[in-house]
Symmetry: D2
Subunit: 331 residues, 4 copies
């Protein structure tokens, strides 16, 4: 049964049998919490969801001259989407089929108190920032799939290839918690993982009935660490397929594609995020691919990857991964 | 003058005018400290050094069945090499021209108390490790440029492409310090940076007259983080070109090649290593490429890379980088 | 106005004018979240609340032989108590008038996966714990105010003086979040601060109308760090006085008594918790006592205290403090 | 044998049989490294050393108006003192018999780039400090045992009780390392531990023949964390008794007095420093006092202390302790 579902997941056929649920996200129906809340739509396992997400400012900043106080909330989320049959102890699989930047302008922002190498809320220093808020606008060129950086303080611009992904992707947390959409943690959330892009499947622990999937915070491109606090922030058009894997229990989010398996650690300090991702990856290799824990550990030490997603949010996010070509055949 | 030196550095011509110094490293002449010590050879700026390094066990483990107590010291180093004209306040550039695995067998080891996700000296837990020392041997195939992982606890093997690099590369520390060859810090040292490979130039702050370059701890391949505590450990044949950049003062090691500039942070927690690398990269972009600090910070947030080298040594090492194609022309 | 309220707070007179609200906490009415929820009672600013709290196991473990699976939930909370007039931007003052251990037996527990120096959820290592759950019972002697530790593995016992305090004390979080009662953060929560004891006043930021005060997780005594994951866990009889300080905005919890002012940092890594507490204390001294920030910083460097409360919960808690005798007269 | 030595150590009799070695420290004979170096004097086990130390500025700042560039080096050290019979694997005990402030003026300094809550070398932020170097002078009153803080930016002064201790106390490191006198680590060093005061005995691992004891960096008083980067810096007159404990091997420094045993962790992040101190304390209790590791862990969770010494040096220092009254009789 599990094998069948995974097969379905990794090689979807888009058969006419697959149901497509369409949902339109607007500032009137977004949420700002990963929480147990009234679903906006119900999906069956295997259904495809066709929707859109607003950018992290609620699409409030549109053109040069617009300022951060025009933002309509932080990280508005589409959802929650209820997936039938999902129960605590299951895993929710979200295969990202297609992501398109939904507009012609991306936005980047520096805001005092937020960022990896300036005084911040959780790593404060006494020095008051001499810098004020700054906003960069990135014209989108759909034809050549780029967004253009334009320096504010000198005459320089450069094109950046787009790699659209969800900054926010996750489910309702365990234990009745409700977490702000700026937080990444065990339930996914604001992971800012470029791994949340078309072609990849994300797995989340199901903590409540229906799982309650949320999506948002589209990024056209982002550097590792999201150093200054923002990516190229954009609205997205999104097509994902949701599936319930019954009886597979995971503790932290995971990603998978045809080439690799990937685990997410979301905590502080950064080495704890990495420890979470690495231990989860050892257990995954041991459980599904049959290497002993020691052999798995050794193999990761030779070919594993550790990818720093962001170190600006309330928790830092690290993804550990290994290419499947280095693993035995799956059990 | 600086421009000329850099040009030389980045596009070496191997002209007959370049002097080649040959030095043979053996267990009889290795060092175990990055320190101010008697040089084993003197080089002029621009000279090429042709030498070899022993593996991190002093080539003591040779074949299946050999055990860790046969190791001849930890991370034996070739050197130090004195570079004429190098004085405190200068930068030493080490262009890695060629690295070849010097043997037919690589080694990996798990040793209780050392590793990223087991109880360790600096992150101890009460749980005593149930695991004993384990040793993996990796047959080297020079023809297809691979090393082969063979599981110890099941019947599985897989070929791993080789990417040879120095695990140890650095100079004498500042302030008269002498640091063990297992430590990475401001002077470089046991950085375990895959960036220390052929085609790249490493820069180090010169802290004492002559700089005093050390090399060692060859790796045929390594996963990010060097999770279980070792790479595929091998002896190397090495060819590097050293140059002094007069009057350029750097605080932490850097790497550069034709495509990218890269900065090293070596500290704990891992976010401090990343903070060091990121601030140094902002300053480098600002100083040499003319973007304002804010524009540089924003650009890194969109296209920067953060690469986790290792999180097992006494300090953790992170490399931040940006591709030159995203930067203005160098000033 | 503010002066008057503080005076009231620090030198309460128990006059007949003060209203006393009595509330009985049972397993039937406890909560497990710091969240916006239906109040169980309404208080006026200046009112005294007379209530009781269950121990962290819902009073489920009563005598030697009882096991952790008899616990009725983790950290059940009394409340929430709505304080009239409290609005976002105000500060809620909770003066702890009296705390008494409500029973004859305290409990301590080691549970694999929770603790400061064993493999834990957020700092995992591969080593599986060789230790199983252990439970220690601490007979309470009200006459000499002690609880007795009895070793499980040898014949040794020793009396420990009691210092009763709330392990959990806090308000509804900001931004609509709901946080598990095992979490300490900006809203207070599971701070495990011995500072939450009789004679001290705790201050919390008001995030929602009414503030919504929660209390629980009584401790008869605790070592710094709560190293093994529990204190001497006990039910409490509690008497506190709540007051609203209009227009005083704080970012993190604070404590105060006649001798000292104290600030709370609750985050990870531990140095970030300390940074939060220290910056908040500099700002407090600067704002209310008139020293320049630099003079305040210097003075803390000479006479400040940093107290490690716990390093086992999802965030670590540190309290920084300075005795008032070292400060100028309050402005 | 060990018992006898410890007895001697804890209850010294100052009998005429005890040899007293006198040594005068000046800027001409100080060292700036904990390292293997030529001893300045030889001591027998049990001998008393009567010496003096310079302040951390080499006594270079003497009166209001003096500036940091008048400092003669950072943390000059008296020593090294060779203790006969001390060999690797032994423990060196240093009983601090008497410490007196050697002068009439103490000094405190803020220096940009150094401190717990400002941008620093190992936790850098982009914000440039708006603050320049500041120097505070603390007149010493020997009659009432106080030093007086005088605010620089307002008219306020306050007396601070003196508690003299060594900021630097340690031995030559292992593995041939030489470490700057601003670094605390396994060998002791710049621990900034108020525990290094009269009445306490410090224990250090012996790493080289003779141990090679260094002393310096006297503090008249210091707040936890040494937040702004300095204590009340003073020269000291010191009287210590050294003893070799043959065959007792320790990994990290320890302190002991009649009331308590204390362990030192010196690393980053701060929780790793605490983990080191706590595990060492569990092992000490288990080894010398006979409680099982689990009982020791539980007992620390109830009555242990964790004391934050400093979080400004290259490593952070934490001391964990337990009062002997809570322990079984020593084995």
């Amino acid at each position: 049964m599990r094998f069948l579902l995974l097969a379905l997941l990794l090689f979807p056929s888009y058969s006419s049998a697959q149901n497509v649920v369409r949902y339109t996200t607007t500032n009137a129906n977004v949420k700002y919490l990963f929480a147990t809340a009234e679903p906006v739509a119900h999906l069956k396992s295997g259904d495809i969801l066709d929707t859109n997400t607003l950018d992290c400012f609620g699409n409030g900043l549109k053109k040069p001259g617009d300022t951060l106080d025009m933002a309509k909330g932080d990280n508005p989320l589409a959802g929650p989407f209820y997936v039938e049959g999902a129960e605590p102890g299951d895993t929710l699989a979200v295969k990202i089929l297609d992501l398109q930047v939904d507009g012609d302008m991306g936005v980047g922002v520096f805001s005092p108190g937020f960022g990896s190498i300036n005084s911040s809320k959780y790593t404060p220093v006494l020095e008051k920032s001499p810098w004020k808020e700054r906003v960069w606008f990135y014209p989108i060129n759909h034809a050549d799939n780029t967004a253009t950086f334009k320096a504010l303080d000198s005459d320089f611009s450069v094109k950046i290839p787009m790699h659209p992904f969800f900054g926010c992707l996750g489910v309702a947390p365990a234990n009745g918690e409700a977490r702000s959409s700026i937080v990444p943690a065990e339930f996914g959330g604001n992971m800012d993982s470029p791994e949340a892009s078309a072609g990849n499947t994300a797995y989340f622990p199901v903590n409540v009935k229906g799982g309650l999937l949320y999506l948002g915070d589209g990024h056209a491109a982002m550097g590792d660490g999201e150093a200054a606090g923002s990516a190229i922030e954009v609205p997205l058009k999104a097509r994902v397929q949701v599936s319930v894997i019954k009886g597979r229990r995971i503790e932290w989010p995971q990603f998978e594609n045809e080439e690799a398996i990937m685990t997410v650690g979301a905590y502080r300090p950064a080495e704890d995020a990495a420890r979470i991702a690495l231990t989860e990856l050892v257990y995954w290799i041991h459980g599904d691919y049959g290497l002993s824990e020691m052999d798995a550990y050794e193999l990761l030490s030779k070919v594993g990857k550790i990818h720093f997603n962001e170190m600006v949010d309330p928790n830092y996010v690290v993804v550990a991964s290994i290419e499947k070509k280095y693993l035995p055949k799956k059990k």
